[in-house]
Symmetry: C2
Subunit: 277 residues, 2 copies
């Protein structure tokens, strides 16, 4: 597998790189960003996976997330994948919340999406092998986090793989796509109508069905336009309480859905993960 380096910039003593490779899962070129902090030669470092939200690429958090200072200090590798396959040969939709930029971290089952919209397997299986082969990553120390649709991705991928990810955190996550318009549209479109299949892509349903995680942190702004219709953190709070999962849910007064919010609390999330890695 060839990894092409698109850019590499020294930042906070580490290297912020952007890389491209041919994906077996999506049958497209995929681009992702990795920050490797300063480290001793030969060291293996803990890894933070960051999954982005609707319309985002690898670049949004790389430019606006303000994670490098904390990652450099804490010695964390930070990985930011793209959110879907992309390209003229990839099926798309005019809406911002379906198709390219809106992969929803599922393996699609319906035509025309199924052949290339395989973001679950890309994030769970393919990209970890590439990271292991090309970066000084300690596979025994990994955490996963994300924002909005990527918060949904972090919650569901993290809960399905509790032995791999020691901790999960999210900013403004979609906690139950089954119960919100964004999720209902995406799950129907990519997966079809069988609700049994949907449950593996819904954090609250996964918890009800027995999934657990060692540690769970969520930050949610109270001025987020999507709070009540789409995100509904109370559903996750209730599911965690019923299941005995120790969720820390921080409602942040006056903060919205933007990276101005995420960047404010990014270092806090990274310190919380580092303490568990």
């Amino acid at each position: 597998m060839t990894l092409e380096t698109l850019s590499a910039n020294l930042s906070f003593g580490g290297v912020q790189g952007v890389y491209r490779h041919k994906s077996a899962q999506t049958k497209t070129d995929m681009t992702f960003a990795v920050f490797v902090p300063p480290h001793d030669p030969g060291a293996k470092l803990p890894v933070i996976w960051y999954l982005s939200g609707l319309t985002c690429t690898h670049a949004n958090v790389m430019e606006k997330g303000e994670y490098r200072r904390a990652c450099a200090k804490l010695g964390l590798i930070f990985i930011a994948p793209d959110t879907s396959p992309r390209g003229n040969d990839v099926p798309d939709d005019d809406a911002y919340d379906f198709g390219q930029g809106a992969g929803f971290y599922v393996d699609a089952l319906r035509h025309p999406w199924a052949a290339q919209y395989r973001m679950r397997s890309y994030i769970e299986d393919e990209l970890p092998e590439i990271i292991a082969a090309h970066f000084p990553a300690d596979r025994s120390r990994q955490a996963i986090m994300g924002h909005s649709m990527g918060g949904h991705g972090a919650l569901t991928i993290g809960m399905r793989n509790p032995d791999r990810y020691k901790s999960i955190s999210a900013f403004s996550p979609i906690v139950s796509p089954i119960q919100c318009p964004w999720g209902q549209k995406a799950l129907t479109g990519y997966l079809g109508d069988d609700p049994a299949i949907w449950r593996q892509y819904d954090a609250c349903a996964l918890i009800k069905d027995g999934a657990r995680t060692p540690a769970l942190l969520v930050d949610q702004g109270t001025a987020d336009n999507f709070l009540h219709d789409q995100l509904q953190p109370a559903l996750l709070d209730a599911a965690c309480r019923d299941a005995g999962i120790d969720l820390t849910l921080n409602m942040r007064d006056g903060y919205d859905h933007s990276y101005f919010f995420i960047s404010t609390f990014m270092a806090e999330h990274l310190r919380w993960h580092a303490a568990r890695l």
Copy 2:
């Protein structure tokens, strides 16, 4: 004067706003960004002016500069103006380094630029009045900084107004436009061929002609593609040594011209300014 709020986002406990107004200097709408940190009611706060480089708007440093954490902690207002007038009715040039996005912080003298390319007077005279009228700014405590072309702007505006700006800092500044291709093109294009007029827009010439500043800090990456042809910090170093100006010039090994560099050292610059305000 009416100030239109285009956006206002809570971030690091303060407000990151973007504003638009009709400029008497440029005869266009001008957009700028201001971060106001958390503060006590009625307090007046010290101000950092940040001037951006070629091709930039107010948004580049707002998105990539990572200044809000330090400004919130230090209690600094951070102002990021645009770099030129813009619009279909504003003269432009196909080159990235002349015309819109490349105002070079001069008051142009030549047709067709002279009527609207008045970024010197906009930054020195017009925008400060708007800031004073709409934000809790302490005019007796101001500093100025910038990047590349904006470093040139900070150096020259700061040196021409040493009583107003207590300190000047720059990332990768153009220290002598008279002596580099970017500067020669811009000064000729906006001002004409008289080298006597150019000198007020050249930090090294201003120093030779007697300008001084209370405090001067420059950071420059050694892997910056523009270091040797355009930026030439050694010229500033020599001018300061001859004039007895206490310049701190940090050559940063391996860093380039990007915001990955700027963000790394932004907090250090802000602490340095805060100690002088």
